[in-house]
């Protein structure tokens, strides 16, 4: 065992001892939600903007996006979304009236603190992380950033705050990577977005430690529309992580977040996320990066929860010599559809992309890899490599691969490999014959399967990922 994984197995005890699925599905009393009605109207969009005291340009942006939302159709090329009822969703809620979050942990109200403590956030912060921006409902309530980072000129704050404090930067980049007319959910997001993270790393600044934010959806039927805007200037480097865990409710909730990342010339950026929304959530996320000359973008993602997930992080390899690397895990359990993948557009010369996808299906769950690789006419010598591995744990679950490749330049090298495996009785027998119980043996095999991706995550997230897999494996009939 490597040192890293040994620490991993020990660290797991310290942080996740006694943690059960219910911890993630635990909910706090939320009476404030009654103050906001369901459904989406022009008045609500105006109300959100007014409530946040936004500048006119942002209100204009929201209203334009709202028009697009009304005109765009619901996408029908993927999982069935017909049960999604916009009139039943609450598009805006606040957990606290205090603007701008809390500066220290002590200021955070007890019930909110309790939720986070059950999720191990304070430990996570103490142990590894340089700064914390946590989203509770629609507004960040807690923020801290090490002084050394702000001294370097790094801005790491709530996007709502950035709209007021850094309007020139926000205005220049906000929804320029994912325009509101991109698709219906991007338009919806543009109209009702609230909260999220703003990260700006100036030219040449290299942040050694990962920065983290934790999202959590807590009020019934509440959509979460957080926006992550990241600007990495030329030659800068950083790593940002988001983790999501939402409690379980009886009727459908919608998550339509948006992540935009601008990676400057020669810059390097890694975006990691562990998403574990509750089973009644539609997770329809849009994540996209524009990568300039000689820059590198890395996506690392784990999708565990949600009823329906549609998520295809996109890399636009705009500059010559730019690179992107997509690493992703999807776990589809009972009643879940994990429709995930990657989208890559090669524009610059000598660009390269690599996709490694690991999916697990169990208890009747369906995992689908949907990939889209485009090599444009100008993209000489582009290289794209896609690898999909699926593990199916029982006969009632399924896995599918839907790759789409459009190559308009004959110098391109494009490769797609897909493999499907099943949990092998002989492997289980081998592990159990040494005294390891069957459930643990199965979890070990599944964790081993995703290990190549998990080991790229920071320690705390690797531990959480492994722990979540173990929770999913509980009570499995192999």
């Amino acid at each position: 065992m490597s040192n890293e994984s040994l620490i991993k197995s020990q660290g797991k005890k310290a942080i996740f001892a006694g943690l059960k699925r219910e911890t993630f599905d635990h909910k706090n009393q939320s009476d404030y939600i009654k103050r906001f009605r369901k459904g989406l109207t022009r008045e609500l969009v105006e109300f959100i903007s007014k409530d946040k005291n936004e500048p006119d340009w942002m209100l204009a942006h929201r209203l334009r996006a709202f028009d697009h939302f009304n005109n765009l159709p619901i996408p029908t090329w993927g999982p069935d979304l017909s049960a999604l009822n916009f009139d039943e969703i609450c598009f805006f809620a606040k957990a606290t009236d205090k603007k701008g979050g809390f500066k220290s942990w002590e200021e955070v109200p007890e019930d909110i603190k309790y939720t986070f403590e059950r999720l191990g956030i304070p430990e996570a912060e103490r142990a590894v992380l340089a700064g914390v921006g946590v989203q509770y409902e629609s507004e960040a309530i807690y923020h801290s950033l090490e002084k050394e980072l702000s001294d370097m000129g790094v801005i790491f704050t709530d996007l709502d705050i950035a709209v007021h404090e850094h309007p020139e930067l926000v205005k220049k980049y906000f929804m320029k990577c994912v325009p509101p007319n991109d698709h219906k959910f991007a338009a919806l997001h543009g109209a009702v977005w609230s909260g999220g993270t703003f990260l700006y790393i100036p030219k040449g600044v290299k942040i050694p430690k990962p920065l983290q934010s934790y999202f959590r959806m807590n009020a019934m039927n509440m959509g979460q529309f957080e926006h992550t805007l990241i600007i990495v200037e030329d030659g800068a480097e950083g790593h940002y992580i988001e983790g999501c865990s939402a409690p379980k409710y009886g009727s459908q909730a919608l998550h339509a977040g948006c992540v935009e990342i601008f990676v400057g010339q020669g810059a390097k950026f890694r975006y990691s996320s562990v998403e574990n929304w509750s089973r009644d959530t539609y997770n329809l996320n849009t994540k996209r990066a524009i990568i300039e000359k000689d820059a590198t973008m890395e996506w690392v993602g784990g999708n565990m929860g949600s009823g329906v997930t549609m998520l295809y992080p996109c890399s636009i390899l705009k500059g010559d010599g730019s690179k992107s690397n997509h690493l992703s895990i999807a776990f589809a359990n009972e009643g879940q559809i994990q429709d995930t993948g990657a989208k890559i557009i090669h524009i610059g010369k000598n660009t390269s992309s690599r996709v490694t996808m690991k999916s697990i299906s169990k208890g009747g769950g369906a995992s689908i890899y949907r990939g889209d690789v485009k090599i444009t006419k100008a993209a000489d010598n582009a290289i794209s490599q896609v690898e999909c591995d699926a593990l199916i744990l029982d006969p009632i679950s399924s896995s599918d691969t839907i790759p789409d490749m459009k190559v308009d330049n004959e110098t391109a090298t494009v490769n797609h490999e897909a493999r499907v495996g099943r949990l092998n009785e002989e492997d289980i027998f081998y592990l159990t014959s040494r005294g390891i119980p069957k459930e643990q043996a199965e979890a070990m095999i599944v964790n081993g399967f995703i290990n190549p991706i998990v080991r790229g995550l920071p320690l705390e997230y690797a531990v959480e990922m492994n722990r979540l897999i173990e929770l999913e494996m509980e009570g499995s009939v192999g």
């Binding site: 490597s2 197995s9 020990q10 027998f429 014959s433």
Partner: protein, 246 residues
């Protein structure tokens, strides 16, 4: 003590074992020999609880209790160990990680109140044993049996046995695929555990392992039945004449 009574076993309704009886006391070594397809591997797997076999008659008792209803891991925790003929390759799990999990499972079973062994202590113990078995310590950090040669896999099985210290070991063709030096190392490992009162069932169809390990009893298995048994002298005779004509 392992006691097999009139064991009948089928796979997909095809009978493989047709009434095998065998008793192995602590510290005894029994060798089971026989041609390919005689049911040797089936016997090993059934003792350990492989789910694919149906037991149609008879019983297997360990320390006086029937183990037929027990899961493989429960049998392992009682002190049974199977060294596989073809150890599985499992990616993503290192040998060390796997063995630590197994060791801790045994620890938890025998001493539930004792805290689990510290990782660094386990590492040290493992490294020392690996040195004894002349295994590169890098193997500990490699995925389980991944890219191991045939001989390395067999050594790894005996290493696992040495870590888990079973009361009863079943060795399924452990000698095949080993060169002369490796065979000696593996046999030394088995002999040492045997001197600590471990019983062993050694399944083989070569005689050469018997040059290093002296069995107390030798049984010849043919068509799912033990057709002849004998003591040490019989083993020596078999070494010379072979079991084909028995």
């Amino acid at each position: 003590m392992l006691k097999i009574n009139n064991l009948h076993v089928s796979v997909d309704n095809k009978p493989i074992l047709n009434g095998v009886s065998l008793t192995i006391r602590p510290g005894e070594i029994h060798a089971v020999m026989g041609p390919n397809g005689s049911g040797k591997s089936t016997l090993c797997n059934v003792i350990m609880g492989h789910p694919k076999y149906q037991i149609t008659d008879g019983d297997i008792l360990f320390n006086g209790k029937s183990i037929l209803e027990l899961e493989p891991h429960e049998r392992a925790l009682m002190g049974l160990f199977l060294a596989f003929q073809y150890p599985k390759e499992i990616s993503g799990i290192t040998l060390e990680e796997f063995l630590l999990a197994a060791y801790r499972a045994h620890q938890k079973h025998s001493n539930p109140d004792k805290p689990p062994i510290l990782v660094f202590r386990f590492k040290k113990m493992l490294r020392e044993l690996m040195e004894k078995f002349k295994m590169d310590e890098k193997f500990a950090e490699r995925y389980l049996n991944h890219g191991f040669s045939g001989g390395e896999k067999k050594k790894s099985e005996i290493l696992q046995m040495a870590i888990l210290k079973p009361k009863m070991a079943i060795l399924d063709e452990t000698d095949s695929g080993l060169d002369v030096d490796a065979l000696k190392i593996v046999c030394d490992g088995i002999n040492q555990l045997q001197s600590d009162k471990m019983g062993a069932l050694i399944v083989t169809h070569y005689h050469r392992i018997l040059k290093h390990i002296c069995p107390d009893f030798v049984h010849v298995l043919k068509n799912g039945k033990i057709v002849k048994s004998g003591g040490k002298e019989f083993a020596c005779k078999l070494c010379k004449t072979g079991y084909e004509n028995i």
